[in-house]
């Protein structure tokens, strides 16, 4: 991680000095794009090295192996573990796989585990004792993966990648892969990210837009345009009130923050690459905060205190038609599931609002600002059938996981996903009553090829996010004005950083 970060940071610094220290938004974007290109070059260089060694074998293995089962002609049985209910796509996926690999001697079975502390402990226990888990989807990002690598629970799949000519950067995007290189030279792979969600996108209720005579903002919108639309969508009083927007504060700050901070990427929290100075006094943050408060004060968005005290969810508000829009793309599954959550309106996926016209291109329309890809697919170190497991992994990553988006709303990280096939499957399954097909296409085909460094807090990161939340809440609930809020965030944040640095010395 450190090394990957170091490489990317170095690349950015070089690029930064080449482009000159651009102060404004636009010139910074150019600098960052150059940086992205440079980083990509660096990453690819590292990868070709790995690929070169395996190229000859790859050529030899070009002819597909036909039989993965036992020598006596019986198929091998492997188990895939993941933390999602089977009906949200995994069962369908397993059926597809088994149909395809029936003649090749692999039988796969899906096992659901609970992605919580005890569930993960159970998974790790089985991984170390062996025999129960062959392939699994892990959560918790790099730190969890690292822990399992250190414990020797995972198979190094780098050789499989080279043997089958599978370039993860090309397939999954440098952004998605950026956090998942390991080993001395940062060229080993133990888990492939299979899911990449862009949280800066949001849901809009197409029916309500049509009723109000509004156009769906497929290509994005500005704060002003958003407020205008939200106002037109808001109506009613008391229990019957329909809000324009649900910021989903009850889910934490993830979704709201993803939309607000995108223009500042990657310096949205810290001004420098070492994460030693707080960036909350940037005018972009002031504008974002004032915009959010305005949306609440005008009565268009659900007040913060209501969301928290009533524990409002997408199910209880958006799907009940009590709000016309919601920022919670990670809950796409619920929108697609009208059996468990009956609703009869169509949802479109659109980018979140940006401060002004100049941000319209490339802020929310790219995946580059979201380096966090998840659902890490790994093979157990002690599986008796590593070849069969690799086959499943490769198949899963290369489009096999399509039922997951159709049934479960999990956005695949795979860059070459067959959009038409996904849309067809969805139309066949649900008709076009639940989701706006054009918007789904837009969302699935977002460019995921670039990589930008993500400056993350190595100094009191969690404390700073708690502090940020407290100050923003106080502002949104009218406890303090905008100047005090920004002052507090900067002083408290820098203070926490300094204390942490002092403590580490």
């Amino acid at each position: 991680m450190k090394k990957a970060l170091a490489i990317t940071l170095a690349a950015v610094m070089v690029a930064g000095s080449l482009a000159g220290c651009g102060g404004g938004g636009k010139s910074e974007t150019t600098a960052q794009t150059t940086a992205a290109a440079a980083t990509e070059a660096a990453t690819t260089a590292a990868k070709t090295e790995a690929a070169a060694s395996g190229e000859t074998e790859a050529a030899a293995a070009e002819t597909e192996k036909e039989w993965y089962g036992n020598d006596d002609g019986t198929p091998v049985h492997i188990r895939l573990w993941a933390g999602v209910q089977p009906e949200y796509g995994y069962q369908q996926m397993m059926d597809n796989f088994n149909a395809e690999f029936k003649d090749k001697g692999i039988e796969a079975e899906y096992v659901m585990y609970k992605n919580d502390t005890s569930g993960n402990l159970q998974l790790e226990t089985y991984l170390s004792s062996g025999g129960e888990v062959d392939v699994f989807v892990g959560y918790g990002g790099r730190s969890n993966l690292q822990k399992r690598i250190d414990a020797g629970l995972l198979l190094d799949i780098t050789d499989y990648l080279t043997e089958s000519n599978f370039d993860p950067v090309e397939a999954l995007g440098a952004t998605a892969m950026s956090g998942y290189w390991f080993g001395e030279n940062n060229d080993r792979v133990y888990g492939l990210p299979t899911q990449a969600t862009n949280k800066a996108w949001m849901f809009v209720n197409v029916d309500m837009f049509e009723e109000a005579g509004l156009e769906i903002p497929y290509d994005g919108w500005t704060y002003d345009e958003f407020l205008d639309v939200a106002g037109k969508l808001t109506h009613g009083e008391g229990l019957d009130k329909v809000y324009g927007m649900q910021w989903t504060f009850n889910y934490g700050f993830d979704n709201w923050e993803a939309i607000m901070r995108a223009p500042l990427y990657p310096y949205m929290t810290y001004k420098d690459d070492e994460a030693t100075e707080i960036a909350f006094d940037d005018p972009i943050w002031r504008e974002a905060l004032e915009f959010t408060k305005k949306s609440i004060d005008l009565g268009y968005a659900i007040p913060y205190e209501d969301e928290i005290s009533e524990q409002m969810t997408v199910q209880s508000m958006y799907l009940e038609g009590k709000t016309a829009m919601a920022a919670c793309i990670s809950q796409l599954r619920l929108v697609l599931d009208d059996e468990t959550y009956p609703h009869d309106f169509k949802t479109a996926l659109v980018p979140g609002p940006v401060p002004s016209e100049e941000w319209m291109d490339g802020v929310h329309n790219l995946h580059e600002t979201y380096a966090s890809a998840g659902d890490l697919l790994s093979i157990a170190a002690n599986t008796p059938y590593p070849d069969a497991c690799w086959k499943l992994v490769e198949w899963y990553v290369k489009g096999g996981s399509m039922p997951l988006i159709v049934y479960g709303g999990r956005t695949p990280a795979y860059q070459h996903i067959d959009c038409d096939e996904v849309v067809d499957m969805m139309l066949e399954l649900k008709g076009d009553n639940l989701i706006d097909v054009q918007s789904l296409r837009n969302y699935l085909t977002l460019d995921k090829s670039k990589v930008l460094p993500q400056v993350s807090g190595s100094h009191a990161g969690s404390e700073i996010s708690t502090m940020f939340k407290e100050e923003v809440q106080a502002y949104l609930q009218g406890q303090q004005d905008i100047d005090t809020t920004i002052d507090n965030m900067v002083t408290r944040g820098n203070d926490l950083i300094q204390k942490d640095i002092a403590a580490k010395q």
């Binding site: 928290i308 005290s309 009533e310 524990q311 969690s462 407290e470 106080a474």
Partner: protein, 305 residues
Amino acid sequence: MENNNKAQKHRIRIIRENLVAWGFLLPSALGMLLFSIIPMFISLYVSLTDWNFAAGLGNWNFVWLDNFKALWSDTWFTASLKNTLIYAIVTVPISLILSLLLATVIDGFCKKKVAGVVRVAMYMPHICNAVAISAVWMALYSKYGPFSLLMRALGWSDPPRFLADYTWALPALMLVAIWAGLGYRIFIYSASLTALPQDLYESADIDGGSWFQKFWYITVPLLQPTTFFLTVTGIISSFKVFAYTNVMTKGGPGNSTYTMVYYIYTTAFRYSRMGYASAVAVILFLMLLAITIVQWVHNSKNEQR
């Protein structure tokens, strides 16, 4: 000679009895040692280090009292200390007065069978899970819950969102704690009430004492040991309050419902700063120790009397 032998036999018997007693005590003593006493000393030690949980066991530097010094400029800690003290100062007396009054009323005015039913009903919250209690109260505190509806009916146009309001959140939590602890206290008071000597009340009746006079001049003074016991245990349990905060408010809004144990929990398990969290735990330990010493002194004075 014979005497000597007898004395020796006697001694052996005592040793054997002691061994048997220790044998029975061993499992729980061992548990206590492993899970309470040793961890206590470890956390005392850790409080003097800068141990970060993520760095692994033993990866720590000795920083002496740095953690304790840093505490006082930490707004989360000072807020949690203040909230914990307010919480104890408000909830303990109110719940004592309420439970004493209710116990006396139940004892004096309910028939025996009814009194039993009432006491059991009041005792229920005490055996309920704090998380379940929290869930019910969150519904009660809802914008559309009975409290808000009542306030609206009384002419309050926009009642506060109790659990998300800076001034109301802590009182809202206190109310839950008072309610949940009431039954237990009533139970204890009722037990003491039935044991009070009836002759004092009879002579008061002959002298024409009113209900209030009997309550104030006989019941209250005679229940003083019970009251003292409930005060001490009440303070200790309110210093340790955690579940309601964790489930209902997560310390929010802002830091208005941070309590010490909640802060220990977040520092240790969210920020991974074990050394610092242990320092807060040591402060809490000292506070509890002070209360316990007061109780010891009081008890030994009583015994001397």
